[in-house]
Amino acid sequence: MTGLESVFARAKDEGRAALIGYLPAGYPTLAESKDLLAAMLDGGCDVVEVGVPYSDPVMDGPTVQMASDKALRAGFRLRHVFDVVEGISAAGGHAVVMTYWNPVHRYGVDAFARDLAAAGGHGIITPDLIPDEAEDWLRASDEHGLHRIFLVAPSSSDRRLKLTADASSGFIYATAVMGVTGMRDKVGAGARELVRRTREHTSLPIGVGLGVRNGEQAAEVAGFADAVIVGSAFIKAAEDEGAQGVRRLAGELAAGVRSPRPAGS
């Protein structure tokens, strides 16, 4: 069983959803990002999603853009992501990387996969890479034993859900709403429907992201998904209160995923 598989199996045994928290590597500085990610795990995240700051993050709203810009201005270099992942792995945590594709392409897809695997990372979430264009990544991920976490969206046709599910491993990232990352008051009925439709094509765990910001929403999503993914809210917490805020939010969300609200409640 791989690291991610064991995480999902344990959560399932405990009758709850897994909690996945996102923060960009190098935000606000390289050293501080390590502390923030450690606080996230300490507070109760099962997996951390380590973001690669990028100049043109078209899937991200203002909060993640701001954090990416800060990291880049503070001198983030792509190779730092391996350093961050290694720190998490060494402390016994589970990490996946979330990155736009051009930095990986520029580094070399195989080389990136090799170095990520060596750092103990479990896989890559690819917001702007679809399986149709992912030939190199399919090969490299097999070669280096990494999970391919592709995204599905409420707009995805059944044909695309199947195609994407078939190419995925580890888990599938379902975007709760049509739009970019950022905190929302409601995560929408669309997420529940998307998870239901995606399940028809896969037995992989399905994580829901985009918009979740508090324990109550986490409980709601945990009622129908295998993982709850939270990003912008962690950045907000880090901006306001640093590592302490991140730890507290992780705790609140961890309690949320442990009290899943059944459908319709």
Binding site: Y54, S55, D56, P57, V58, M59, G61, P62, Q65, L72, R77, L78, Y100, W101, N102, P103, V104, H105, R106, Y107, P127, D128, L129, I130, D132, E133, F150, L151, V152, A153, P154, S155, S156, S157, R160, T164, T175, M178, G179, V180
Partner: protein, 417 residues
Amino acid sequence: MSAPRDPAAAGEPDKDLHAPGKHDPDERGHFGPYGGRFMPEALVDALDELTEAYDKARVDPDFVGEFRRLLRDYAGRPSLLTEAPQFAEHCGGAQVWLKREDLNHTGSHKINNVLGQALLTKRMGKTRVIAETGAGQHGVATATACALLGLECVIYMGEVDTQRQALNVARMRLLGAEVVPVTTGSRTLKDAINEALRDWVTNVDTTHYLLGTAAGPHPFPTMVRNFHKVIGAEAREQILEKAGRLPDVVIACVGGGSNAIGIFHGFIDDPGVRLVGVEPGGHGLDSGKHGATLSQGVPGMLHGAFSYLLQDEDGQTIEAHSISAGLDYPGVGPEHSWLKDTGRAEYITATDDEAMHAFQLLSRTEGIIPALESAHALAGAIKLGKELGEDGLILVNLSGRGDKDMDTAAKYFGYTS
């Protein structure tokens, strides 16, 4: 006596301008290794829907007929071909002919693509159009087509560009469009596209993204090119008629590359015709402040396609620089990357200063004020004319008019006080 020739037909060796052909990419939009779709999954079905709608429309006589009618009766096509003999004296004596896209309605070639995509938007039953703009030419053209066809219109424009092209902002607002200044990143064209993509992923049900250049994910590079092929088709017929032969060189400026790809395709199957794209050299290639994507870039993914790209060794986009807002872009359409690699087209650069010199020169020698973008092509003509000498024949795509650039020009030449 034969019937008088329909003037629009003069611009219509274009029976097959829209039909699928040998210069189309593969079915997933690849020109060689370039192009494709590097896009969020959330937009893929919209891109499939667009591809399907376009594939039907391009072979539908009703659609093609309506597009032609609008080009003729609304945009003013065919555009003129004008010889520029006084300007040519500064080009080593080679003949210089200008394809006058500046005389189209709204003042640039952009109207061709915009009318095509706006018609397609109606066909798809969408009611809202979004677009990015750099210099404002594409924004104005989009706002115009939306006014004509009754579509809601939102234009994203980098804040830097809203300042250097304030008149075009006013124009778009007059036409009923909402103009959104973009304050992220470099606050220019690249970031306007990012913001338009964010809007699109949120509102894709009702909204068509009317991309303004032959870049982005499939099917945009092919579709936008085909809507601009009329430029090259007209120009080829006109130059044969007026100059009696094909040109030695066809020159166009390249930012994203839509006007260039449109005119190049009129001559792409004429092996004796050199196709030359002129990229913005900004302050000079050594300065690092330029937009010479094909000349200096490395292939990568930006805005949905794999193509040459100005990027650093970590794959972060490097901000472009050009005095011309319309060329201030670190990417380029994927077909240009393929034409570069295959050697069918060549790409050179003109600096800000060289473009400004050509801008003033054409104004003073011919009484034609070109867009700053087009001035780069003219600067290329000066270089290549010297190489070709008196026997040379150069066709320049004068992609737009320069009224919008008077503020920049007045500052550059010190005309203001």
